[in-house]
Every structure is written in C-alpha cells, then in structure tokens.
Symmetry: C2
Subunit: 331 residues, 2 copies
Amino acid sequence: MNKPAIDVLGIGNAIVDILSHEDDAFLAARDIPKGAMTLIDEETAAQLYSEMGAAVEISGGSAANTIAGIASFGGNAAYTGKVRDDQLGEVFAHDIRAAGVQFNTPPATTGPSTARCHVLITPDGERTMNTFLGACVNLTSADLDEKAIADAQVTYLEGYLWDKEDAKHAFRTAAKMARAANRKVSLTLSDLFCVERHRTDFLDLVRGNVDILFANEAEIMALYEVSDFNSALAAVREDCEFAALTRSEKGCVVVNGAEVFHVPALPVEKVVDATGAGDMFAAGFLFGLTNGRDVENCARLGVLAASEIISHVGARPETPFAELAHKHGLA
Amino acid sequence: MNKPAIDVLGIGNAIVDILSHEDDAFLAARDIPKGAMTLIDEETAAQLYSEMGAAVEISGGSAANTIAGIASFGGNAAYTGKVRDDQLGEVFAHDIRAAGVQFNTPPATTGPSTARCHVLITPDGERTMNTFLGACVNLTSADLDEKAIADAQVTYLEGYLWDKEDAKHAFRTAAKMARAANRKVSLTLSDLFCVERHRTDFLDLVRGNVDILFANEAEIMALYEVSDFNSALAAVREDCEFAALTRSEKGCVVVNGAEVFHVPALPVEKVVDATGAGDMFAAGFLFGLTNGRDVENCARLGVLAASEIISHVGARPETPFAELAHKHGLA
C-alpha cells in the first residue's frame, strides 16, 4: 500500500499570539491563573492588551503549531481552522502556508475578527494565555475537508475546540470521518481547565474514539480524577493505543499497550518562553509515528522539538526541525 | 529655567515590521539590494510577502524605534506618525504607547492600510528592507502638534519622510516650528539610496537647519559626494553643531565643533538581526544629550543601545535600556 498523501491533518483554533513580558504581579493584580489558558471576550481582550507592554505578534494556535512543527520535520501536513478576512487572518494564513502546510479553510467574511491569544511571559519563562476566540466560533462541520481527512494517516484534534458548540460538532464529525476511512484519531487534552470543563465528554472520546492521546501530568490526572501519575498511567493504557504524557523537566512517558517508555528532557540553557512546548512534543511524536519510527524514537523527536521551542519567544520553530533531528542523530 | 516637558519628539513613517529569515539567493533572485531600504507598492508587497518564509510582526519605523529607545532609557518622548484604523495600526499604536511614548496622531480612516516593512534577515544578521508606505502618505502638516514641538528639546526627523510630498512639507514645517521655539532640530539621513534620491534637499537642510545629524559612513560620504570618511567629517563639522556618525563594527565618531570623539563598538556575541542599530544609536545619543550628559557619554549610550538591538530579532528594545545603562556604569 502506498503511504497516504498526508501524514497528519490538524484541526484547531486558528490564532495569532500577542506576546509580551510581564511580571508575576501583573498576573496577580488581574487574578489571571498562571500557566493556564483563560477564555476572554473581546472587551476584556482590548482592556488587557491596553495594559500589556510592547508586544510581538507570531502565529499560534495549539494544533496549528503542532502541524507547523510536523512540516518543519519534513512531514506532509494539512490544517483546518477559521480566521477572518482581516490583517491578522492574513498573517495566520501566510505563516502556516509558508511553513509548508496545506491550508484551505476559507476565511470568514463576516463576524468577529481573527482570534488573538495574549501570551504573558513571566521572568521564569512560563506563559499564561488569555484567548479571545473571535472568528474561531465560525468553524463548522462544513469547513471539514473529508478527502483530506481520508488521505491523512492521523487526524489531530485539540481539546480547545470543545469550548464552542459548532467546533465541538465539527470535532466529532472529523473523528467519525477519520474512523470511517480507517485512519487514526489523535487528541491533545490542551489545558487543565479545559479538562475540568469537559471531563465527561473527553472521557467518552478517549474511551473508544482516540488512538493517540497527548496530555501533560496535570491534565491526565484531572481526566481520570486521580491524585497520582501512576494511576493515570494505568487508566489510560486501557483506553488508548498510545498515550504520550509530558512531565516538563522530567521528560515524557509513552504508553503503548504493555510497553512503557521513559525519555528524559533535553538540557536547555534557559527557558525563554514555554509557549508551544506541548504542541511541539506532539509534532515530533506524530511526525515519527507517521514516518515509520519506533515509539522511543518518536518520543525523542518530541522532546527535541520541545527543547527548541522553549529556547526562544514564540511557538513556531526558528531552526528547521529536520536539521535539528539530523544534528541529534534522529534523522 | 525648567527642563522642557519633552526630551525628544520624533516624526517619521509609522510602520509595522514583518521579519523573516531568508538566504542571499532569495535577495539575488529578486534583485533586492542587500542592506538597503527599497520602497515597494502594495502589489509588490503582497507578492513578496507570499514568497517570504514564516514571519514575526514587530512595530518598527526608524524614528519610532529611536523614540521607543529614548523612552526605554527613561527619557520623556513623543512621536508623530500616521497609521490607518486597522489591526496593524492598532499594533503600532499599542506598542509605542506601551513603551511609554506620548502618541496622539489620529489614525487615517480612509486610504491605504498601515505601512509594512518586509525585513529579510540573511544568515550574516544583515537586514534588507522592503517598505510599502501605505497610510504614511497621509501624514501632513495638519498632524503636527505645535505645542509638543515647542515643548521638546529636540525635534527628530527621519530622512525617509522626504519620500512623500505631504510628509516632506510636514517635515519642513516641523523644523521651522522647532526653530521658532528656539529648540534643536535633528535629522537622520536614514539610508544611502534615500540620500541619493534627495541629496540637494538634504544638503540644503543640513546647511543651516539641522543641529544634530545622524548618518552612517556610506550616507555621510554620499551626502558630500566624497570618497573618504575624513573629507566627509571635515565638511559636516562646518554645517552642524553635532554630527554623530556610525561605522558598524568600528564604532562611531562624533564631531562637535573643534572636538572629535571616537567610541569603539561593544563586542556582541552574534549579530542576530541588524535591524534598528542606527535607530538605537540615535536613541542613546539623544537621550544623553537631552539629559545633560557630555558628548562622549552620549556616544557610549548610543553604542550600548545599538549593541542590545542587534543581539535579537526586531528593532525595539527587549531589555530596558535604563537597566542596561546602569549595568554598564552609564546611568
């Protein structure tokens, strides 16, 4: 059988990040939960932006970052997500296409503007996200490209989609389409609060509809409502073919049936900006998995990509991952 | 006499930079002169953007960068420049205000969109600029704030303004207003090709209307049509009270009447992106001059600011200059 035309098709919220450096007092004064993603409305976004320091704009969006990362490894990648026909929408579309990703979702011509995520980077390199979903609310099942889903080895979905009704429906439809084409479905749990908001639905999904699950330690424990990591590990191995679980500086653990792989994190001189670490871990792992690598190699590629992204501002690769993989003997 | 309310008021083209990394072949294939600023129309800009790699958006504009730099040193700074009422215009206005700069120019509500400069960074750290002036064409004398000009010790003008008729008129009017208020006028020659385009006018200005002139080696030699730096130096000392001339890795030379000061460049680990080096030199120098520093100290502040800006992507300070000056014993 020929290799499918697409390695991974990602579906997610199409967002431009607005990144500034702020201190912990800035978060505390506004009751913004550090390290989390908080949804905000347009008015709150305008207020927050007016209070933030000078910023930098870089394309973002969790699944979009992952897909750009897969393309950076040399993978065949496609993306579905909704922007508006405004300047930031053009920025998003330009950047994902320039990364080598197939992106054909038509922009909305009415309704809210392109989504922005106000990313506050604290001196410790941690990022705290405040997202105005804007045009993402207009993503519907009609935007799904059934042929692309059927052509993709993996359809990758971000948990954040679950926050809007139409997107949730599109999410479910996409998973069904992938299943019908005998392809794999992958999900990232996205964020601790996102898991708290949608635990029952996420558990339903994970039990029978997700082949490859990504989560960090806090998210997987919240999903199963357990207080230790090993209990979460025992639970998830019953539910998914692969669970790739990240533990920040402790590296990652991948469960595949009876097998468990531990891969340590790579040393990083200084964590400049943690934005995109989880997204890039998924990029490396999914690139490996869809290109015939063994599970441990997949995990190493994920760790490598994560280590690159946290060494600079922004959640898109600055050094091509293919080059990096070659340098680290992982090509 | 009390210190005037504003140290420096800058007037310039209000631009958002779109920065990507490209190789030299990318420039060669498009006949783009390396290291220069080329004016392009909207169609050419759209074509170039579609061919550029994934990019980052950061507020720019030569005089705007300088003014943001002065504020970063702790100076009182104001800026006049024209954006449109679009998303990139909001980005520009946000960033300059967040830097602590007084910025009150109303955005245009019709006409071309906010100006973009497509900055192509080559592996050697050199930047090549391709500017669509957009809404900047709508800057007119009506946008000048006569009270602010009268309140500013120095009115700082960029040579780039000379590329559009209305802006040129505004430039001349601003210089006259500053003179009438018994304040100083400062000019940067901006770019070698800009000097070639406007040599006669620039010479007229420099001879009698400019107190503080900024230029690099190539620009000052082109202005006086001489082939060696010392001849240019001899010429400019007759024309301006201060001439601050930058020579890249050779540092800078400042001429003030009979006195000449040489200040070496600071060692930089790696030139990541040369965008804004000249702008930041002017920032340090003008901050010093308007805050009672001696000429050599002014030059050292300029060199310090330039060394910070070339060590990262983008032309706005990442480390507060006041902090940097303190660390280097220049506070």
